[in-house]
Amino acid sequence: MNKKIRQLAFGMMALYVLLFAAMNYWQVGRASELNARTDNYRAIRREFDRPRGEIITADGVVVAQSVATPQGSQFPYQRQYPTGSLFGGVTGYYSFGYGASQVERTENDVLTGQTAQQYVGNIQDVFTDGDGTGTVRLTLRNDLQEVARDALAGRDGSVVMLDMDGRVLAMYSNPNFDPNAIVDPDFDAAGNALSALNEDETEPLLNHAYQLRYMPGSTFKVITAGIALEAGVMALDMPPFDRVSEWTPPQTSNPIQNYEGSNCGGDLREVFRRSCNIPFAQTALAVGVPGMIAGTQAWGMEQPIPLDLPRPTASTFGSADDLDQQLPLVAIRGFGQQEVQMVPLHMAMIAQTVANGGEMMRPYVVDATLDSRDRPLTVTEPSVWLRPISPQTAATLNELMQGVVTDGTASCCLGISGIPIAAKTGTAQLNNDGQPQESHAWIIAFAPADNPQYAVAVMLEGTNEAISASTGGRLGGPIAQRMFETVFG
């Protein structure tokens, strides 16, 4: 019988070799294909089975957290955003099946405790009661964010506040979304909420403060002036501009007008604080097309803003093709109209650059990442992104912008006793002549002007008549005012 037993042994071995081959087929051969199938949700679920750390504000308010679900739930943890839509544009969402966005996406490894540093550090957690997750501490402050929301009072627009290191202290915009709707444990409800948000033409899923750009109007004159001052085309002691109500640039017969056709001119201080259009149109042409293109790029336009959030957009001076043949457009762009479009965050950075002696800091929203025992893993170091202007130019612009607040377009609505403020307003006309008035209202400002600490940009989209009928100073000024009052509290 021994011969048969040996044959049986070989037969058995052959069967097990088959098993081993089949295992290889599934676990190696077809693994990547199977793992990519949509109904294979293991990789996502692996994330969801684990606790996930908190996102907290600089003033210690929890804006994203995972809470344990009752026994028998599909997942042991449920993501929650206690502040709702207030921080939705910054934290983003972390959903099952619909991915993640914003900080939830960029700091995923920290939140789940998967960075190499945490792997090592978490060994200690085994002996304590740590859960191995990390915490993300934002630069944003809950109080400032709330003030921004309240001051906007539901109107479409953005409020951004920076400090001199580039920390984003507030970044709120309308329309926005409540991430709690997308992490609804009811998948269908979550899916419906997300597709409704996706189809919404007002783009609530985008953070309007840094992912969209708008015509800046007269706030752009800070940049034009900065370029001109650097180029020597403009100076405080230059001869005054003519007081005119309209001026016809070369290559056209259509004249350029000041705001509402007013008669406007004088020295640089006056034309800046009264926001005359014609002097800046002339200045843009005096700088020249190559100078304006290079200058705006030096200010960071045409480049995505280096913010530590996904998909930032770039400000733009507009199409540069054949601009030599279209000098009237260059002139109009000189005061922030036509194709010029600025990101609200970028405008705050421009105020911050002037305040900061000409150094444009990289903006950031993640101040630090902490391990499960609140020891820092990373602390974001402030860094200079661009140096578009010299300290002297910055000082000049600072002085010009203070004039706007003391007796210029913002004097109506901005001022705190004892704290000098510098600002520039803007009212970007979107409609052509003869159409109903439609305009964005802007203000950028920083304070204290003699020892700058905070810069702010406020922008209200011209999506309703009340905004379109008013000016940047009147609408934006009070909002900037409230932000400064809060921060200087």
């Binding site: 019988m1 042994a9 058995m12 294979n40």
Partner: protein
């Protein structure tokens, strides 16, 4: 009993160190699974380690006392499989099944030692062949008895006695293997003789073939009635393999395969549940959310595990329904990867190798065939279920020996292991590798015999079956002679 034997001692200390290693792997895996799942040292690590240690010691002492010449690899391999299975079950169902599996494991280990203590002479089993046949038949029909049997997952293979559910079929296969081995050992020449002419065919005398065919047909019929396809396949294979090995006629293998093919085809035509199994096997993605869900998710699990696995406690094997029982292999494949799965397969191959080595070494036909039968049960059961969950063969629900959860399954598998260990020890004694000391029962019998001899002063001439310990080395064969299996009759007295 305590005759010095360096070889026995060496085997037992090898076994002890291997068992300790298996225990250490189990303890490490248990800790890692908890770390992976909850990022903490398991709360019940101390009682776990003590229980594990206790079980390993009981199992090892069982072998050391009752089968000290046996192969030292069998128990450690089982300890490893059982340990990994236990870790997986507690990781999957920490509240519902961890305690139950612990209880069943303890029972299984005790039954293992008990079996070794009771069955001290393997040929004794052959003497009770008809008893085992009756027992096997009774166990098989038990689930069909109204009020006693119950169905889970479409198969009526469970018996509920109060709070205890068990599958009597698990034990029936051992009983029937003993019957087959015993019957075939006695009658194999007659069966292979093929003296009965039917037309051009030469068949064995029907009367010799009848008991085996009857037992087998009955078993298969009952299991078809119980819709237990996996066990039917297992029995069929067991029967064919034992018939083939004992008669040494390849025709039985061919006939077996043909018969199996016909039976499979007929049942596929007749039974909807068989068709469903085949359809799922051919294309589980045809209905990935309902009928094919289990298999599709199991395959996703192993593919997600890949080469190295997700790590214990870090995968999602619980997505697969009954991951702790029939599908435990894919759970292991997911969390321990191809390497972990291959380790499990290698463990079974080691056991198959050890079992067939026993069969090769012994000269006793019954022991040879029993070793073949038990090894075939174990190796084929693992193949059928592993092949089923990785879509190599159609899935039929049976447990993965020693690894799966399932009350009676570990108990019956440990009985099987105890018998293999017993056969191995018996072979070692036969080959004089270890001294063939008298068993405790034999010494008690001898003492009783001496006493009655002294008190009645009558000559004891009918002492066959009992032996005097002073007669060295003849015990096994004297017992075997009763069965008529072993040709070498010992004329000790």
């Amino acid at each position: 009993m305590a005759t010095a034997s360096p070889l026995a001692r060496a085997r037992r200390s090898t076994e002890l160190s291997l068992v300790v290693m298996a225990g250490m792997i189990t303890a490490g895996a248990y800790t890692l699974a908890s770390l992976g799942q909850y990022t903490q040292i398991p709360a019940r690590i101390i009682p776990f380690l003590l229980t594990l240690l206790g079980m390993l010691i009981v199992a090892h002492l069982g072998v050391r006392w009752f089968a000290r010449g046996s192969d030292p690899t069998l128990l450690p391999v089982v300890a490893l499989l059982h340990g990994l299975g236990y870790v997986m079950i507690t990781r999957l169902e920490p509240e519902r099944l961890a305690g139950l599996q612990t209880t069943w494991s303890i029972i299984a280990i005790v039954v293992f030692a008990f079996t070794l203590a009771v069955v001290q002479r393997a040929p004794d089993l052959a003497r009770y062949r008809w008893t085992f046949l009756a027992l096997g038949v009774a166990l098989l029909v038990m689930p069909l008895v109204p009020g006693l049997g119950s169905s889970f997952g479409g198969a009526r293979i469970w018996v509920s006695l109060g709070p205890i559910n068990f599958q009597p079929g698990e034990f029936a296969k051992i009983a029937l293997a003993i019957f087959f081995a015993s019957y075939l050992a006695d009658n194999r020449q007659l069966i292979s003789g093929a003296t009965w002419r039917v037309g051009p065919l030469r068949l064995p005398e029907p009367r010799y073939l009848l008991p085996v065919l009857g037992a087998w047909a009955f078993a298969v019929l009952v299991m078809v009635a119980e819709k237990d396809l996996g066990s039917s396949l297992l029995f069929f294979t067991l029967f064919v393999v034992m018939l083939w090995v004992s008669t040494e006629r390849a025709a039985y293998l061919v006939i077996g395969v043909v018969l199996f093919g016909a039976a499979a085809f007929v049942s596929w035509r007749l039974f909807a549940h068989v068709q469903l199994r085949v359809d799922i096997w051919l294309d589980p993605w045809a209905d990935p959310n309902d009928d094919g869900y289990q298999l599709v998710q199991a395959l996703y699990g192993v593919s997600d595990g890949g080469l190295m696995g997700t790590g214990l406690g870090r995968g999602s094997p619980d997505i697969v329904p009954v991951a702790e029982s029939d599908f435990i292999f894919t759970s292991i494949g997911e969390e321990l990867g191809l390497f972990g799965g291959a380790a499990i397969l290698m463990s079974y191959l080691l056991m198959v190798g050890a079992g067939l080595r026993i069969a090769l070494r012994t000269e006793n036909a019954f022991e040879k065939l029993l070793a073949v039968g038990l090894t075939t049960i174990m190796g084929m059961q693992a193949f059928i279920i592993v092949g089923g969950v990785i879509k190599l063969v159609p899935l039929t629900g049976i447990t993965l020996p020693f690894v799966s959860y399932g009350g009676s399954s570990p108990v019956s598998n440990y009985v099987l292991l105890a018998l293999l260990v017993r056969l191995s020890d018996s072979t070692a004694r036969r080959l004089h590798e270890v001294p063939d000391d008298a068993t405790m029962a034999e010494r008690w019998a001898a003492r009783r015999l001496r006493r009655s001899r002294h008190s009645q002063r009558s000559p004891a001439t009918q002492a066959a079956g009992f032996r005097d310990p002073s007669f060295h080395g003849a015990g096994a064969s004297s017992l075997a002679s009763v069965t008529g299996v072993d040709g070498s009759r010992a004329a000790a007295r």
